[in-house]
């Protein structure tokens, strides 16, 4: 118990003093998670919109696949991407393994289904009368799509926030594809795992506090947007 209390007190001091190593780790985490969320948003939002807005054969099957992919373990994605970017993989010549780019690729693949599925849910929740209203006012297909998108905006932002929350706290992909290289690919979660292995809890607890703080902030934002949807 003393160990935990001592670690916690030291960790608080570390957070307050903005310890250089801790700040670097947090920065790497924020950067890779930010990029992966951005790319997943750029791919997942239009994909989700398309699936929700259009009618085509196999639509239900696609939604079922996407919902299944929501639960895919990070290590499976890590293994899958590793097979492509390792030296023997088809993308081996780009030398991506153990770089931040590798983490971004893996994390993007992890959360594309999250963004897509939640965008589909957000669009599907929009009252069909918005579509009818836009059409009767003379809107073409693009203008009608824009109206639906605008009405679903809070739900789509909530989807992006949820996706960011998923990648900032994942460890499997960052460890397998990033390699936990200090000052380069070490993220909050991989650093915590390493510090735990070393038996040095101070930095691990400090990073845990920052991660929890970020998660809390994400959840606050998420609920704020969910509240806007309901209103």
């Amino acid at each position: 118990m003393d160990l935990l209390i001592d670690s916690f007190i030291s960790a608080i001091a570390l957070v307050i003093s903005l310890d250089r190593e801790m700040v670097d780790i947090v920065a790497v985490s924020l950067k890779v998670s930010g990029y992966s969320t951005l790319f997943a948003g750029l791919l997942g939002i239009p994909l989700g919109f398309l699936v929700a807005f259009e009618s085509f054969p196999g639509k239900r099957f696609i939604i079922t696949c996407l919902n299944t992919l929501l639960a895919v373990p990070t290590v499976v994605i890590g293994l899958f991407v590793y097979a492509f970017i390792s030296r023997r993989g088809v993308l081996g010549l780009f030398d991506l393994l153990y770089t931040q780019k590798a983490i971004i690729i893996g994390q993007t693949l992890l959360i594309i289904p999250v963004v897509t599925a939640l965008t589909i849910a957000a669009i599907s929740r929009i009252d069909q009368r918005y579509r009818k209203t836009a059409m009767t006012l003379g809107a073409n297909r693009w203008q009608t799509a824009f109206v639906i998108f605008r009405e679903a905006r809070y739900g789509i932002v909530a989807a992006v926030i949820a996706a960011y929350g998923r990648v900032i706290s994942e460890v499997g992909i960052s460890m397998m594809l990033g390699g936990n290289i200090r000052g380069f690919t070490r993220t909050m979660t991989t650093a915590m795992a390493l510090e735990y292995d070393k038996g040095a809890f101070t930095l691990a607890v400090a990073l845990g506090i920052v991660l929890l703080g970020l998660s809390f902030g994400m959840n606050l934002l998420f609920h704020l947007f969910q509240g806007r949807i309901r209103s």
């Binding site: 009767t136 006012l137 003379g138």
Partner: protein, 339 residues
């Protein structure tokens, strides 16, 4: 002629919800669309609004057959607009909602503003121009929705139960605004409503829709079964107060009877005994003036069944036939048609 509809059917899966042999919609005319819930009014309005396509049959607009391809329909939808039964406004400001259709039509900025203020003024909503649309009440939403269509100066304005879910003041403003569109721009109006008095007051023509089919003028009495065989060709339906409606030869016990108001007579005088005439007693509940005529439609409550009877203005005056007055109603049981 704006719309010509011929041999149109609309099916959802195997259920036929609309079966219209012929319907013409002329320029500048106000049409009332009447019928019970589920009669197909909204489906017909959606087809006229070019939001749904018929299963079979032809729809012509300005003598050209409508092609159900999106670019073609988008062009026509700029002339034919619909106000839904429960309209929605986009979650932006009232101004932006009003502006949406005008922008699509490429109306210049200054003209847009002028029309928006004028349109909001028509429905008494000019003070709400910057208000967030989603914070408006039901009546205010309906008024803005109507105004957003009126500013587009459409050829045809389709109104689906425009006053069903609003307060009296909002209903009045919606009615006046719709009629102003006809006066100012010769807009054709098609109004679906349960408000019979309003429809007979303002409409040039009332169309009655029942079980997806058009028939009559909406003044007909519709009497639902079940019918019990009495004797010979006569069948009857017992009313809660013990009186019986007697009619002849229903095709089946559950058939729906149509009795024309002109086939029924009513008044305070006792009808001479006539074996061919059936007599009922009731109370006048409402009198409605038929537009462009001196005839009055009296709604006479026979137990719980309201019957519409055509009575001349002179007879109303002579016999003091006002609401609340007890009267006798007599009709020939053979003067019936069946659905």
């Amino acid at each position: 002629m704006l719309f010509e509809i011929a041999r149109l059917t609309k099916k959802y899966r195997d259920r036929t919800v609309l079966d219209v042999q012929r319907l013409d919609i002329e320029k500048g005319v106000i049409y009332g669309l009447q019928g019970p819930n589920g009669a197909g009014k909204t489906t017909l309005l959606n087809i006229l609004a070019l939001l749904e396509s018929p299963t079979t049959g032809t729809v012509s607009y300005k003598s050209q057959p409508v092609q159900y391809s999106e670019p073609y329909l988008q062009r026509l939808r700029k002339e034919v607009v619909l106000v839904d039964q429960l309209p929605l406004l986009f979650t932006t400001s009232v101004f932006k909602n009003m502006e949406f259709g005008l922008k699509i039509r490429g109306i210049a900025n200054e003209e847009r503003k002028r029309r928006i203020f004028k349109g909001l003024e028509m429905v008494g909503m000019e003070d709400f121009v910057d208000a967030p649309a989603h914070q408006l009440s039901g009546g205010e939403t309906q008024r803005v929705a109507v105004a957003a269509r009126l500013v587009l100066k459409p050829e045809i304005l389709l109104l689906d139960e425009p006053t069903a879910n609003v307060d009296i003041a909002s209903a009045q403003q919606i009615r006046e605004a719709a009629l102003m569109a006809r006066r100012k721009w010769n807009t054709t109006l098609v109004i679906a409503s349960h408000d019979r008095d309003w429809l007979y007051d303002v409409c040039d023509q009332v169309i009655h829709l029942f079980k997806g089919r058009l028939f009559g003028t909406g003044k007909e009495n519709i009497i639902f079964g079940p019918w019990r065989h009495l004797s010979g060709s006569l069948w009857e339906k017992k009313l809660p107060d013990g009186q019986c409606i007697r009619l002849s030869d229903p095709p089946e016990p559950g058939a729906v009877a149509i009795l024309q108001p002109a086939a029924i007579a009513g008044g305070s005088d006792t009808h001479p005994a006539d074996p061919d005439v059936h007599l009922l007693e009731g109370i006048i509940s409402r009198l409605t003036l038929v537009k462009n005529s001196s005839d009055i439609l009296a709604t006479i409550l026979i137990s719980t069944l309201p019957l519409t009877v055509k009575i001349s203005h002179r007879k109303i005056q002579q016999e003091n036939l006002y609401p609340g007055h007890h009267v006798q109603v007599y009709y020939d049981p053979h003067a019936v048609s069946w659905l």
